[in-house]
């Protein structure tokens, strides 16, 4: 039985802007186990990034409201003050971001940026040791000539190398969980594959758990063990990757999978899209968020939020079409 590292219960994230409150994450539960890759998939604005950031309280400090429980090693991280949180960030939970060009400080050498994180959490270590660790980490992420690269500035690196450098930066203190917020979205397709392979390799070696945020289903298919499909701030479907791709239960998931363009599609066939747009989360939602766009919507969907039903072992769907009450007929 693999160890459960992180347990998220009832997580809510609200953003306060110009007098209005945007309810970006509307009550979700999930867990991360040791050594697994959990994906969170969804379109822009579904709350996946906000969820990842909430785990380390990286949401905008004065305009975000977080509630719920994030249990790590027995403690609720949401009760942690900023000072205590700083001890978690980088050391227990690391994070890598979407755009490596802007995510690295252009005026500080790469090696120093990696050392910085290490020295923060091990202040008694000598600079020599920190430098050594940084060099080793650079090598581990596949950057050749690490001594030279150590002294270089980010703008001298290619896109793929920058992302590798960022991974090195995040892994310097050997965190247990790595949050990867769309790590390959800004990269070329070929580089994407390399980075994903690198992440998989590192996971094999160090047993780090990865929370992979993406909007790309092919990345999910390649990388993830389990996946959460998010829509409008709530979990629509959750389960093992194979199960979900084989037998998607939620109407949203089904249409998502249908919308992946296929090589054997005829040229004259129009591309499949899901009509409509996600709802505006500044306003409270009475029913299921997908209802307005759903072909299987029922009256109950308009007024009640569907809970997660376990339709198959370890495969959950938040859809009234799978409500057990329907099966009684």
């Amino acid at each position: 039985m693999t160890k459960k590292l992180l347990d998220v219960r009832g997580l809510n994230v609200k953003f306060l802007t110009q007098g209005k409150s945007l309810h970006a994450v509307r009550g979700i539960d999930f867990s991360i186990f040791e050594g697994e890759t959990l994906g969170i998939v969804g379109e822009s604005g579904c709350g996946k990034s906000a969820t990842a950031k909430a785990l380390v309280q990286l949401n905008p400090r004065y305009s975000s409201e977080l509630s719920g429980e994030i249990l790590y090693q027995g403690n609720n991280l949401l009760t942690y003050s900023e000072k205590k949180m700083q001890l978690i960030r980088g050391k227990e939970i690391g994070m890598i971001f979407q755009d490596p060009m802007t995510s690295l400080n252009p005026t500080i050498k790469i090696g120093h940026q990696i050392m910085e994180g290490y020295l923060r959490h091990y202040p008694n270590a000598s600079r020599k040791v920190a430098r050594q660790i940084a060099l080793e980490t650079l090598e581990k992420v596949g950057i050749s000539h690490p001594e030279e690269r150590f002294e270089s500035y980010p703008h001298t690196f290619s896109g793929g190398m920058r992302q590798r450098a960022m991974i090195a930066l995040a892994l310097a203190c050997k965190p247990h969980i790595l949050l990867a917020d769309e790590p390959t979205t800004a990269l070329d397709v070929t580089i994407q594959a390399q980075i994903l392979d690198l992440l998989k390799q590192i996971q094999k070696e160090t047993k780090t758990s990865i929370l992979l945020i993406t909007h790309d289903l092919s990345v999910v298919a390649k990388m993830c063990d389990r996946v959460i499909i998010m829509y409008a701030g709530k979990i629509a479907e959750q389960g093992n990757v194979d199960d979900i791709f084989e037998a998607p239960q939620h109407p949203y998931t089904q249409r998502l999978l249908l919308s992946i363009p296929r090589l054997n599609q005829s040229k004259n066939e129009p591309l499949f899209t899901i009509e409509g747009t996600p709802p505006n989360l500044s306003y409270p939602l009475a029913g299921c968020a997908f209802c307005a766009r759903c072909h299987h919507a029922m009256r109950i969907c308009a007024n009640h939020q569907p809970p997660l039903f376990e339709t198959r072992p370890n495969h959950f769907t938040a859809c009234f079409n799978h409500d057990p009450r329907l099966k009684n007929d």
């Binding site: 709802p279 505006n280 306003y283 307005a292 299987h296 009256r299 009234f320």
Partner: protein, 307 residues
């Protein structure tokens, strides 16, 4: 407990629309309307705007409010403090300071605004041509501007004033000799940005002449920063005029600008402070208002601040 058959029956399209119409995103507002709304919410900017309107209003009707003209002297009543007879007091020749202040307002505001408008015209023309034509022409134009810009602005103005002699038109001329460069730079950089937009390329592809594209697309879309720069050039022109006057290079008596009045009031500061106080306050208030308004406009037009 609602009826199960009812709950689980399908929802029609009409019912869906009815239930969810309030959750649709707000309609898009036009650029100008959005900017105006944002400006209205900016209290300091509104303060600046209303103060300016008041000042301009008083500049127009102020001199008519009192019974004196700006040049009549009352030598027996010189250097009198503010009273019911002379609301702002009198100067060393017994002239009514209230009337003179509002005459000064006319001069200072006129010089400031016209110099800035001329800077605007020259700057927009220069910057637009440079930005639009590009290549060697642009390079040489901007180098010319760079060399000119490196010369200390006020020094040149002072020199010109010494040579040409003072007077309203000469002050305006002197102020506009190098004042346009800032506007030109801003216009050029805006044009360069807008030129790359697809709708401009489309216009060219459809056969529009450069002049048409310039007038219909480039300049209207650069209006935001142009207006902001204009609003912020005016206070520096007013400052320059006041500064010149303070150095003795201002308009000739008996005409007064706020700057010359401040200069006249300086030696009498210890004993008759109101002679300096009133013009000084008005200069500061005017500059403050323009700066607040300019800041507010800049924030209102800034696309990055859009929700």
């Amino acid at each position: 407990m609602e009826d199960k058959t009812y709950l689980f029956s399908p929802l029609s399209q009409a019912e869906k629309e009815a239930a969810f119409e309030h959750t649709a995103y707000a309609p898009q507002v036009s650029y100008w309307k959005d900017a105006w709304v944002r400006l209205k919410q900016n209290k300091p900017a509104l303060f600046g705007l209303t103060t300016l309107i008041l000042l301009i209003f008083m500049a127009i009707i102020g001199p008519f409010l009192s019974q004196y003209t700006y040049y009549e002297t009352h030598l027996s009543l010189k250097n009198d403090p503010p009273s019911s007879a002379f609301w702002f007091g009198t100067d060393e020749l017994g002239r009514d300071l209230f009337t003179r202040c509002w005459w000064g307002a006319r001069i200072s505001l006129f010089v400031g605004i016209s110099a800035s408008l001329i800077d605007l015209v020259i700057g927009v023309f220069f910057g637009a041509v440079a930005g639009l034509l590009g290549g060697k022409i642009e390079e040489w134009m901007m180098r010319f501007a760079d060399v000119l810009y490196a010369i200390p602005y006020l020094l040149v103005v002072i020199l010109l004033m010494v040579v040409i002699g003072s007077g309203i038109l000469t002050i305006i001329l002197a102020l506009t000799i190098t004042g346009w460069i800032n506007m030109a730079r801003i216009v050029r950089s805006q044009i360069l940005q807008i030129k790359q937009q697809d709708y401009v390329r489309a216009a060219f592809a459809l056969g529009a002449s450069r002049r048409r594209v310039l007038l219909q697309h480039l300049i209207p879309n650069a209006m935001g920063p142009i207006i902001v720069t204009l609003t912020l050039t005016i206070p520096s022109a007013i400052f320059a005029e006041a500064f010149l006057s303070f150095l003795g290079l201002g308009v000739q008596a008996p005409i007064a600008s706020w700057g010359t009045m401040a200069n006249d009031g300086l030696p009498a500061l210890r004993y008759y402070p109101w002679r300096l106080f009133f013009p000084a306050t008005f200069i500061s208030l005017t500059m403050l208002s323009f700066n607040l308004l300019g800041d507010g406009l800049r924030d209102a037009f800034d696309p990055r601040l859009k929700k």
